[in-house]
Symmetry: C2
Subunit: 244 residues, 2 copies
């Protein structure tokens, strides 16, 4: 049971190195930008060795996706645990989402690429289950806050509208916005200066549209975000001070 032989350690280290290099390549050149030959030569090993770690290219990509989604899930969990009224906690989730995108743009871009490139057929069921589970956890976290808000009478959803439908709205808006920012380089040219501020505002406006108390005019959620980011994500904030 002793897994600590020096060789095993070296192998484990190499695996993380592989993923590091792979991520950089996928980000800069998409699926086809990832060349196993380049990775191998950069690591000073042969291509066959890479195949000892991952059965195929697609498994590498999916491993990257899992890493990525895990980071966000952890950040969501931290935000959801914050002690305050539901709307502020929801705002915290928004802060987490923005921090994630800005701190780890490579991860986010990766996620987008991987979701669309049709790599899924060749991957193992096991790893795919990991992805799905992570996604469900994220949705569950946010839906839980919405249910808290309903329980406390801060928001009442119309007939036929589920908490998940509201989550879907927030998720759509942020996911879509970050995706537009990432892909269409001309966002500012299109007249959308400061897209991140717009996203923060638009999500709050959506909650206002649902009548979620307290409304934006009753409480300064934008100032609240400043507090949240420092309290919940101190180290992350430190890294991002210049752009926040």
């Amino acid at each position: 049971m002793n897994t600590l032989t020096p060789k095993k350690i070296a192998i484990r280290e190499r695996e993380t190195r592989i993923l590091e290099l792979a991520r950089r390549m996928v980000v800069s050149g998409g699926y086809n930008g990832l060349g196993l030959d380049s990775i191998a030569s950069e690591l000073g090993v042969s291509r066959g060795t890479i195949y000892n770690h991952f059965k195929c290219k697609e498994e590498i990509i999916l491993a990257l996706l899992v890493e990525t989604m895990d980071i966000r899930r952890e950040m969501f969990q931290r935000a959801a645990m914050y002690q305050d009224i539901p709307r502020v906690r929801l705002t915290g989730i928004g802060v987490a989402a923005e921090l994630f995108v800005r701190l780890y743009p490579d991860h986010f871009r990766m996620e987008q690429i991987v979701r669309l490139d049709s790599i899924w057929d060749k991957t193992t069921e096991e790893r795919r289950a990991l992805v799905k589970s992570c996604q469900m956890q994220c949705v569950g976290i946010v839906a839980g806050i919405v249910r808290d808000g309903m329980a406390q009478g801060h928001v009442t959803l119309p007939d036929g509208v589920t908490p998940e439908a509201l989550v879907f709205g927030l998720w759509s808006m942020t996911e879509g916005a970050y995706s537009i920012i990432a892909t269409s380089d001309a966002v500012t040219e299109l007249g959308m200066s400061e897209p991140f501020l717009s996203i923060r505002h638009n999500t709050q406006v959506l909650l206002d549209g649902y009548g979620w108390k307290p409304l934006l005019e009753e409480r300064d959620f934008h100032a609240e975000m400043e507090v949240l980011v420092r309290k919940i994500f101190p180290e992350e904030f430190a890294q991002l001070k210049q752009v926040w």
Copy 2:
């Protein structure tokens, strides 16, 4: 100057055939699913002939993107021309967006794939300009309606919020939602049944959040959509009757 020689006609026809086949391949297998060899053999010509039409694979993909974006732009223009109060016209744009996604899912999926795959370096500046122009026109159309709404006093944007910021919100939400539907096969498993209805509702809620008159409770915009789709997009509606 006579371009109607039978040979030229045959060539032009073949070009559309190429794009048809290419779209099907990209949709089902992404960038790598598109094999020039398959196209050539299916058309009964050699691979070299394909290269007489397009300089490289990437140019084929970009040609597909232009086709796609043109269809949507045309639908947006039709919706924007509708004679009614601004909020109804905006609702018409939403109807157009949904119709587009549901009528031409292949086009939409294509668009997503292409935006992310890094093909842009190899393409001609000319075709890239076409894409950009189309995008700016779409944003311009919607922003125009927002300005109309402001001019008529139906909505007042807070200080520092531009009409484009509101457009960005709507665009993000719809784009993000359709993208989630398209990529994460488990939307319904995640508790989001009837995602298209949710999108319609969420966009209206966002407008409510901005205080855009008349509000959702004052006027039944969901019923309005039924009217709009029949009036503005009669043939499109006919094709989609079963799923609408």
